[in-house]
Structures are given as structure tokens and as C-alpha cells.
């Protein structure tokens, strides 16, 4: 991240913040999308996180830590969206896939559907750890820092989350039913 942009935005430069928002908006939205598994909720969470970033930027002491700080605000926004809508498991709607899985992607549609169900059964705490570690590629100590919890808690959440996903993958390979929101 360009720390000069961060510093300028900290001092109220709206153009600098616009550049910053363009630079980080996609990344934040991608993370929110993966945690919440809902396009509308992810957009709302990202919008709220970006506004909070603008509002609270002067409180960020070290501009070089902008990325981790922005993830923390995004995660809070995701939690708030989750609480506000309570749209977890009952609102199953498989997300559109932008691109077909490549050679390194999922082997079958069944895997994808089973993962989707398994992931939706996880709590938001567990989802967040999985996404920050396996999608954003943050080491566990940085995940702990972003979430403000001990690293042991992160390890525990990751263990339980991966166990749940593994169980979902190992479920009977029946023909996958596509569940949609009513």
C-alpha cells in the first residue's frame, strides 16, 4: 500500500482517499464476499468498512500497518452485517462463479456444493479465520492481531473450521441439491 496516500487521506485529502478506496476496495470486497457468502451483504459490509476507514484514518498511528488495520475494520463490518440480517444457514443461495475452475481448481461440482454447505454451517468466527489464513494468506499471528484474539484461539478456530469442511467434503457423494433462498 502506498503509505503516502494513507498519510494524505489521514489529513483529510478526499482525492487521496478516493485513490485509496479504489486500490483496496476490490480486495476488501473479495474478503467480505468470502466471509459472508452473500453478494448484497458483502457490498454493504465493504461500503461500511470503507466509510469507517475514512472516518478513523487519523487514528491510525503507523500508516505502514494500513492493510492489517483495514482488515480489522472490514471484519467488524462483516460481523455487524451478520448480526443485522441473521442471514446465515436458512438463506442458502449458491454464489455465482465468475470463472470455471482451472486445472488446480475443484474437481467436481459436488465438492463445490459440499464446501459451500459446510462453510455456511461454520460460525462467522470460524469463517473469518479460514478466509484470512487461506485466502488472504495471513500467517496465524497476523490473523490473531487483526481479530484481537490470542493466537491459540485462532489455531483452535482454524482446526475446528477445517475439520468441519473436511467432514463436508467426506459426506456421502449424493447428487448435490442446489438450495436457493425462497
Amino acid at each position: 500500500m502506498d503509505t503516502h496516500l494513507v498519510v494524505r487521506a489521514q489529513h483529510g485529502d478526499e482525492e487521496a482517499f478516493a485513490s485509496l478506496a479504489v486500490a483496496v476496495g476490490g480486495r476488501l470486497h473479495a474478503v467480505a464476499h468470502r466471509i459472508l457468502r452473500d453478494t448484497d451483504l458483502a457490498e454493504d459490509a465493504t461500503q461500511q468498512a470503507l466509510l469507517t476507514i475514512w472516518r478513523d484514518l487519523p487514528q491510525l498511528r503507523d500508516p505502514a500497518r494500513f492493510d492489517a488495520w483495514s482488515y480489522r475494520l472490514l471484519v467488524r463490518a462483516c460481523y455487524a452485517e451478520g448480526r443485522r440480517t441473521r442471514a446465515w444457514a436458512p438463506n442458502l443461495r449458491l454464489l455465482p462463479v465468475d470463472e470455471p475452475a482451472g486445472a488446480g481448481g475443484l474437481s467436481t461440482v459436488v465438492d463445490r456444493d459440499q464446501l459451500e454447505r459446510g462453510f455456511r454451517r461454520l460460525s462467522i468466527d470460524h469463517r473469518t479465520v479460514v478466509v484470512l489464513h487461506h485466502y488472504v494468506d495471513l500467517p496465524l499471528d497476523q490473523v490473531a492481531e487483526v481479530l484481537g484474539v490470542p493466537i491459540g484461539t485462532v489455531r483452535s478456530r482454524l482446526f475446528h473450521a477445517m475439520r468441519g469442511l473436511r467432514a463436508a467434503l467426506e459426506a456421502d457423494a449424493r447428487p448435490a441439491l442446489r438450495e436457493v433462498a425462497p
Binding site: 489521514q10 489529513h11 483529510g12 478526499e14 482517499f17 478516493a18 478506496a21 479504489v22 476496495g25 476490490g26 480486495r27 476488501l28 470486497h29 473479495a30 464476499h33 468470502r34 453478494t39 458483502a42 457490498e43 465493504t46 461500503q47 470503507l50 466509510l51 475514512w54 472516518r55 478513523d56 484514518l57 487519523p58 487514528q59 491510525l60 498511528r61 503507523d62 500497518r65 488495520w69 480489522r72 454464489l95 455465482p96 462463479v97 465468475d98 470463472e99 475452475a101 488446480g104 481448481g105 475443484l106 474437481s107 465438492d111 463445490r112 464446501l115 479460514v130 478466509v131 487461506h134 485466502y135 499471528d141 492481531e145 484481537g148 477445517m162 469442511l165 473436511r166 467434503l169 467426506e170
Partner: protein
């Protein structure tokens, strides 16, 4: 049966799928709202790494253990002393006689707070404070009053250590107050009293949880022209502002105590519009501070 590595690979691959681009309309909505969204500027550096140096972790852990032991011992039945009344035998042991250790939560930016005692990341280990109902926090070293921490009627209590004052609170680039601060409570108090950027009240001697110190009050001049809404009190090592105020008339009521050679600042700030009742509540928060290093 999948191996852990295989499951991880599949999950990672699955996570790569899906949306990544933020729709323009969302970005436009954000940028449309920016001009009308006031930045919370000139407050304090809210987000610090929660990771503490190892020695502080050890010290904080020891302090917590000692606190639990002390609380537990106080809850235990007191044996009769020499020459004291004979203990009355009890036919059945009371369940209430078993001490239940109490865990003290930490401030960690959790927003609203349940009333109770919290551990504060003040730089000095073992600092705890009792937070009344309706108080909040947005970091790990500040508690904020029910009406927020901004003018005209807010208040908050901050906990920290500083090793300098800004030379010119209106211009951070002017650097630190000269001569450099000495390490004692009186060094800091003397610098506050002699600083020309504000008028300070007369210091008074205080004791907080057995730790001696001094209390001194000063305010941002009512006619101060704040650049970027910032009145810098103390600088970070990198020359940026570390502790600051943000409103003319904002008053800083500092209780500065010596904790085993470390200088702890308890910064209770408020505004001309802060009510007498709120000031009393703020003082009660300061008075509740315990330090068990």
C-alpha cells in the same frame, strides 16, 4: 479419506473462486458520502498492535495471577489470630467459603462495555480501572464517557506513558520540547507548568493505589488555531504526533504517578460543556484505578 493437505488445497482453490471486483456503484456511494462524513481526527492513535513485548506479557501474567491470589485469599475464611476469639465450629462447610477466582477482562476496542473492572494496556503492567455503565472503548488504553469523547460535552480517560512534550502543539514538525524530559513525575509536571503553549494550574500531590505522584491540569487555549484539528501534546519516536487533543478549551486533567520507576499518565480530559455530574463520574473512574505491577 482426504489428507489434511488435500483438504487445505481444495479449500484454498474454492476460496479463489467468486467475486473480487467491487461494483462501481458501491464505490460511488462511499465517495459520495465522504464529504459529509467527518473524520475523527486529532484524537489518539487508536490502533496499536495488541502484541506486547515478552517481558510485559510475563509481568502482566504475573500481575493477574497475584491479583487472583489476593482476591482469593480475601475471600477465604479468616483464621482466628493469636489471642482472638475461638473459631466457631460449623456443622457443615458452606459452599460460599470456596473462593471463586475472578478473571479481569481487558480493554480491546470492543465498543460498548459491561460495567466492571478492566485491564488497561497503559505501558505499565497491571493497571486496571472500574468502568461504569454506558461507558465505551475503541481501543485498549482509553475509556470513553457516555456522551462520547468529543466537544462540547464529552470526556474520556486515557492511560499511557510519554517521554516528551511537543515543543509547539500547533506544529508537530517543530519537534520535542527542549530541554528533554527527565524520567520522574516531577520532571514531567515541571515541563507542563513551564510550557508556554498553555496555562497550567498548580500541581497537587496525589496517591493512586499507594503510588505517589502529582496532578496537574491544563487546557488548549480557547483562541488556538488548530492545524488539521490537531493540538499535539507528545510525539512518537518517529516524529509523528502520539498524544493529542482536538478542540480549543479541551482540558487535560493529568494524574501522573510513579509505578516502580515507570511514569504512568492517567489523562482525564473533558470540555467546557462537560457537566458537573459527568466530571464527578470521570473522577470516580480515575479514583478506581489500581496498579499491581
Amino acid at each position: 479419506m482426504s489428507t489434511d493437505r488435500e483438504v487445505t488445497r481444495i479449500v484454498r482453490s474454492w476460496l479463489e473462486e467468486g467475486a473480487t471486483a467491487l461494483p462501481d456503484r458501491v464505490l460511488d456511494t462511499v465517495l459520495d458520502q465522504v464529504p459529509a462524513t467527518r473524520q475523527r481526527r486529532a484524537r489518539w492513535p487508536a490502533w496499536r498492535s495488541p502484541r506486547m513485548p515478552l517481558i510485559l506479557k510475563v509481568a502482566a501474567s504475573l500481575a493477574a495471577v497475584i491479583l487472583v491470589v489476593v482476591v482469593g485469599l480475601r475471600l477465604l475464611p479468616t483464621p482466628a489470630g493469636v489471642g482472638g476469639p475461638a473459631a466457631t465450629p460449623s456443622p457443615t462447610p458452606s459452599p460460599a467459603a470456596t473462593p471463586t477466582p475472578t478473571t479481569i477482562g481487558s480493554l480491546q476496542g470492543q465498543g460498548s462495555l459491561e460495567p466492571g473492572r478492566y485491564l488497561v494496556n497503559a505501558g505499565v503492567p497491571g493497571v486496571t480501572v472500574t468502568v461504569p455503565a454506558a461507558w465505551t472503548t475503541d481501543t485498549d488504553w482509553v475509556v470513553i464517557g457516555p456522551r462520547g469523547n468529543g466537544a462540547p460535552d464529552g470526556m474520556a480517560v486515557r492511560f499511557y506513558q510519554i517521554d516528551n512534550l511537543a515543543k509547539n502543539p500547533l506544529s508537530v514538525s517543530d519537534g520535542k520540547f527542549n530541554p528533554p524530559l527527565g524520567p520522574t513525575v516531577s520532571d514531567l509536571v515541571q515541563a507542563i507548568v513551564t510550557h508556554t503553549a498553555w496555562t497550567a494550574g498548580a500541581p497537587t500531590d496525589i496517591t493512586i493505589d499507594g503510588h505517589a505522584g502529582q496532578r496537574v491540569e491544563f487546557a488548549i487555549p480557547s483562541d488556538a488555531k488548530l492545524a488539521n484539528g490537531q493540538f499535539c501534546l507528545s510525539l512518537n519516536t518517529d516524529g509523528t504526533c502520539g498524544i493529542w487533543g482536538w478542540s480549543p478549551g479541551q482540558t487535560f486533567d493529568w494524574s501522573i504517578v510513579d509505578v516502580g520507576g515507570q511514569r504512568l499518565v492517567i489523562d482525564a480530559f473533558h470540555y467546557p460543556g462537560t457537566s458537573a455530574a459527568d466530571l464527578a463520574a470521570q473522577q470516580a473512574v480515575v479514583d478506581s484505578v489500581k496498579v499491581t505491577p
